[in-house]
Every structure is written in structure tokens, then in C-alpha cells.
């Protein structure tokens, strides 16, 4: 039991941090520009595909650096020549634009790389079990994912709190117009922030591609979770998104690792059903089976009970 819990917790942390790498970008872009970027997970997918193709020519490690950069540049261009133009036509137009962009990227990915899952693998250097405990392996790659995400967040935090750009960005998050009146070029700051956000999504794609699969549905499969996190955390709150991302990661991972089922709960209550009962499938549901449902259950409950989210008492 203890070993299962340990592994589930480690895996949950890896997933949670990965989700936060995406959710942080969505949150940042939302608080600055007021746009919920539905195409954010598409940049995550692009990161994985770029890295896959680049790694075939250059090897994995250069791809780890180049793919997020490429994704970020693409993101900045989308902001500069897409979103900024659409912005004049209001929030709905922007929302629809990001939706359209998500579909466009998905179709383009299929056009260039096809529908099949790509053979994007963990680099040989890290393809070994880091440690084996109670007969179970913990892959070195997952440890790498964990450390890399923590390193990135530490760097981002330092960048936001200690540098000139960070100061201006934090100011622009709440009051872009004041920042412009102080002489700063706000559209350029937004473009850079969008680029950094999408580059982070790209990086998440590079490190997740080899384990979660590099396929055209990868954006949609993670994208919905990212939105659950952003809403549960409270729209616009980075701290809230961080807590929610870890919560969802751990919750799912624990649920999958557990062996508790409906039958156990019923047995506890002293209820049992004959094996040929018409609703027997319902009584046999196990927690691992309903694990994918949990984030959405949490989302619905959150919206009913605390619509503003965990950290959702938005100041100003």
C-alpha cells in the first residue's frame, strides 16, 4: 500500500507540474488580455511534434531547446498578426479566433504528420529506471520532467520578481493602460508574454510527448484538463492555478492507483447484490475507472459552490 501511494504521489506531482506549465500560460494571458486562449494546448502539441521532427535530424537535446523556442516564436506571431487584429472586434471574436486556431492547428498537424501516433521516444540517455522500490520502477525520465518543471518555475518566479521586464509585466497584468501612460510599449510586452506562454506550452509538449504519446488528439486530451484547472484555481490567479494543477494531478494519480471499488463501499454498508443483478456493472465500478471523471466532477462542484474558484476573490 505504501509503495503504491509513493509512486502515485510522484506520478501525480509530475502530471500536476506538467499541467501547471500549460495552465500558467493560459492564466497569464487571460489576466493581461482578457482572452481565454483555447488554442493554448495546441501549442503544447506543436511543441511535441516539432521536437519529434527536430530530434530525427539533430538528436533529442538540441530539439528540447529548439522546439519550445520555435513554438514561442509562432505564438508571438499569432498574437502580433492574429489576436491583436481580432482584438478590435471584441472579446467574443477573440474567443472564436482561438477556437478556430485550435482546430486549424489540429488539422495542420494531421496534414503534415498524419493521424498515427508518432514514434517519439524518451532519449536513450534517460531511458532507465532511476530506482526500483517494492519491485516497481520509477523511470529516470519522469524524474527529469519533475526537475525540469521545478527549474523552469523557479526561473520564471525570479524573472517576474527580479527583472525589469518582470516588474513591467506584473504591472501590466492589472493595469495595462497605466503602464502605457508611463511610456512602456504594452502591445510589445503582450506579444512577448504570449510568446513565453506558448514556449512553455511547447516545452511541456516536448517532455510529455514521449510518455503521453505524440498524436493529433493530444491537445484536446490535455486541453480540457487545463481549463478545468484554470477555472478551479480561479480565473487569472497563478497561485490558484498552481494549487489546482497539483490537486488534479494527484487526485487522478491516486484514484488510478487505488483499488477501491463500489463493491467495497457497498460491503462496508453491509449491502450486497446478486451477481446477475441487471445493474451489476454499476456496482462493480472501481475508482480507477472513474478517475478521468473526477476533474470534471470537481469543476461542476466548484462552479456550484464557489464560482470564483479557489483563489477567486479577484482584487481590483
Amino acid at each position: 500500500m505504501a509503495d503504491a501511494l509513493l509512486f502515485a504521489t510522484l506520478n501525480g506531482l509530475v502530471t500536476g507540474l506538467l499541467l501547471f506549465m500549460l495552465a500558467s500560460g493560459v492564466t497569464l494571458i487571460f489576466s493581461m488580455m482578457g482572452v481565454l486562449n483555447f488554442a493554448h494546448a495546441s501549442f503544447y502539441m506543436l511543441g511535441a511534434y516539432f521536437a519529434f521532427s527536430l530530434s530525427q535530424h539533430l538528436g533529442f537535446w538540441p530539439a528540447l531547446l529548439l522546439a519550445p523556442l520555435l513554438t514561442g516564436v509562432l505564438g508571438a506571431l499569432v498574437e502580433r498578426y492574429g489576436l491583436r487584429q481580432v482584438h478590435r472586434h471584441g472579446a467574443v471574436a477573440e474567443l472564436v479566433f482561438t477556437f478556430g486556431l485550435a482546430f486549424l492547428i489540429e488539422e495542420l498537424v494531421q496534414l503534415f504528420w498524419g493521424r498515427a501516433t508518432q514514434d517519439f521516444r524518451v532519449p536513450a540517455l534517460l531511458d532507465f529506471p532511476l530506482f526500483t522500490l517494492f519491485g516497481q520502477d520509477f523511470p529516470a525520465w519522469r524524474a527529469f520532467m519533475l526537475l525540469l518543471s521545478l527549474g523552469i518555475f523557479a526561473g520564471l518566479y525570479a524573472g517576474l520578481t527580479r527583472t525589469r521586464y518582470g516588474l513591467i509585466l506584473r504591472a501590466a497584468i492589472t493595469h495595462p493602460q497605466t503602464v502605457a501612460n508611463l511610456g512602456h510599449n504594452v502591445p510589445r510586452i503582450f506579444m512577448l508574454a504570449f510568446g513565453v506562454g506558448t514556449a512553455l506550452a511547447g516545452l511541456a509538449g516536448v517532455i510529455a510527448g514521449p510518455v503521453l504519446g505524440t498524436w493529433p488528439g493530444m491537445a484536446a486530451s490535455l486541453g480540457s484538463l487545463v481549463f478545468v484547472i484554470v477555472v478551479i484555481g480561479g480565473l487569472g490567479s497563478l497561485t490558484g492555478a498552481f494549487v489546482a494543477a497539483l490537486l488534479i494531478g494527484l487526485l487522478q494519480s491516486w484514484a488510478i492507483a487505488s483499488s477501491v471499488g463500489m463493491a467495497d463501499v457497498l460491503a462496508l454498508l453491509g449491502v450486497s447484490f446478486p451477481p446477475d443483478h441487471p445493474l451489476r456493472d454499476l456496482w462493480r465500478l472501481t475508482l480507477p475507472q472513474v478517475a478521468p471523471l473526477l476533474p470534471y466532477v470537481l469543476l461542476v462542484l466548484m462552479l456550484l459552490l464557489r464560482p470564483a474558484g479557489l483563489a477567486g476573490n479577484r482584487e481590483d
Partner: protein, 253 residues
């Protein structure tokens, strides 16, 4: 040459005419107040000068060069700073960080990821000097959103004067203040804007008549008069506008 000159500036929102053929000249070193009943177009005028809005027609020139149609940051860089009617402080940043943010561009520091703020000695020294000037030294590390009202307005003034803007626009700098707070704020405004040109919108007539060298009266989007306070007081058209719209209660003009 006037520091700021507006010629035949007009602005409409949909079919509503907000400003019509406004002429205005602000001379270097003066304190010029704009007064007028609610809806006269005072705030719109500020938005046009600071680049938040663009005029539909007409010219705005600062130091002889046209600025209408430029984005806000370009206008700010040429030397026009403004405060807002509604608090526009960076509520989550500390007082010190608010001022640092305002000082970055005027002191020649661009946007950079490589430069650590902690090492910018000149920037931090200037921000500290401003804190003293504004009397906010004790509140240095308090988030701006948690300041008392008067302190917030003082910080707003600080953001506006942080750079070396030649022209400072203040939108109702003492609105909502108690009598003693307003008196302090006035003394502060006088002190920190001594060498500069000031253009302010204000409802409180006692403030306007105490501070202003010249007054422009706006009503329904048009300039009715521009004159010294003494002559504005006795101007028949001004009295008519204030009494006629029932807004006379706000004034002792």
C-alpha cells in the same frame, strides 16, 4: 509658443457629440484648470490628449509637434504624464515597486530580462527620493491596493510626476478627500509640480480657484471661456451655464 495646443478638436461616440471644435492653448509653466458641469467632456479631453482616444478631427500639438493619433506610450515618452480619475495603481505591487515601474522608462531603462532590479542603484535611489517627496516612506513596502485613500492619491500623483514630464494632467486629484486631506494634497501638488506645467480637471471650485492661473470652462463639449480665475468668476456665460444646468450647487463660482 504654447506647450500644448488643441485646434478644432472634435470627438463623437456613435451619434453623441462629446467635444465640438475645441480650441485650447496651455502655456509653459502655468496651472490650467478645466471646469464644467458633468458630461461637459472634460475626461474625454484628457483621453484625447493622452492618446487613450483619437480625435475624429482637429489637431493636437505638443511643443509644436502633432501628437494626435500617436499611441499612449509615444505621447508619454514625449513628456506628457497623466493621472486617472479612477484609481489606476498597480494594486498588487508595493508602493516602492509602483514608483520603480514609473521611473523605468524616463530613466532610460527599457524592458529587459537580463537586468536585475536590485542592482539598478540609480533607479532605486530615485524611487526612494520620490517616496520621501510624497511622504510615503513609511508605506514603502505596502501593496498599493491596501493603502488608505489619500495615500493612494498621493502615490498616483507620484506616478505622474516620476518622469520628467513637462506637462502633467491631473484628473480630479482631490476628489473624495476630506477637507484636511485635500489641503494636504494641494500642498503636495504645489510642491512637486512647482517647475512644471499642470493641466487639471477638478469639480471642487475652491481647489480650482486656489491652484489655477487660468481656467477653461467646458459645457456640452464646447469651450465657453478661457480666462483668469477673477474674470471667470464674473463671466456672465459661465454663470448661466452653471446655474442653467442646475450644477451650481457644486460650485461657489
Amino acid at each position: 509658443m504654447s506647450l500644448l495646443r488643441l485646434e478644432q478638436v472634435s470627438k463623437q461616440f456613435g451619434r453623441t457629440r462629446v467635444l465640438h471644435a475645441v480650441d485650447l492653448a496651455i502655456e509653459p509653466g502655468e496651472c490650467h484648470a478645466i471646469i464644467g458641469p458633468n458630461g461637459a467632456g472634460k475626461s474625454t479631453l484628457f483621453h484625447l490628449i493622452s492618446g487613450l482616444l483619437r480625435p475624429d478631427s482637429g489637431q493636437i500639438a505638443f511643443e509644436g509637434k502633432p501628437i494626435h493619433g500617436l499611441p499612449s506610450e509615444q505621447i508619454a515618452r514625449r513628456g506628457i504624464a497623466r493621472s486617472f480619475q479612477i484609481s489606476q495603481l498597480f494594486t498588487r505591487l508595493s508602493v516602492f515597486e509602483n514608483l520603480r515601474c514609473a521611473l523605468l522608462w524616463p530613466m532610460g531603462y527599457g524592458c529587459s530580462l537580463r537586468h536585475l532590479l536590485g542592482r539598478e542603484k540609480a533607479l532605486n535611489a530615485r524611487a526612494d527620493a520620490l517616496l520621501d517627496e510624497l511622504g510615503l516612506q513609511a508605506l514603502r513596502d505596502v501593496p498599493a491596493g491596501e493603502l488608505a485613500y489619500a495615500a493612494q492619491r498621493a502615490l498616483e500623483l507620484g506616478l505622474a510626476i516620476a518622469g520628467d514630464a513637462r506637462l502633467i494632467l491631473l484628473d480630479e486629484p482631490v476628489a473624495g478627500m476630506s477637507h484636511s486631506e485635500a489641503a494636504q494634497a494641494l500642498a503636495l501638488i504645489r510642491r512637486v509640480t512647482a517647475e512644471r506645467t499642470l493641466l487639471l480637471v477638478e469639480h471642487d471650485m475652491s481647489v480650482v480657484f486656489e491652484l489655477a492661473d487660468r481656467i477653461t470652462v467646458l459645457a456640452r463639449g464646447e469651450v465657453i471661456a478661457t480666462d483668469t480665475p477673477a474674470r471667470i468668476r464674473t463671466n456672465a456665460r459661465v454663470q448661466e451655464v452653471y446655474l442653467g444646468t442646475g450644477a451650481g450647487g457644486q460650485s461657489d463660482a
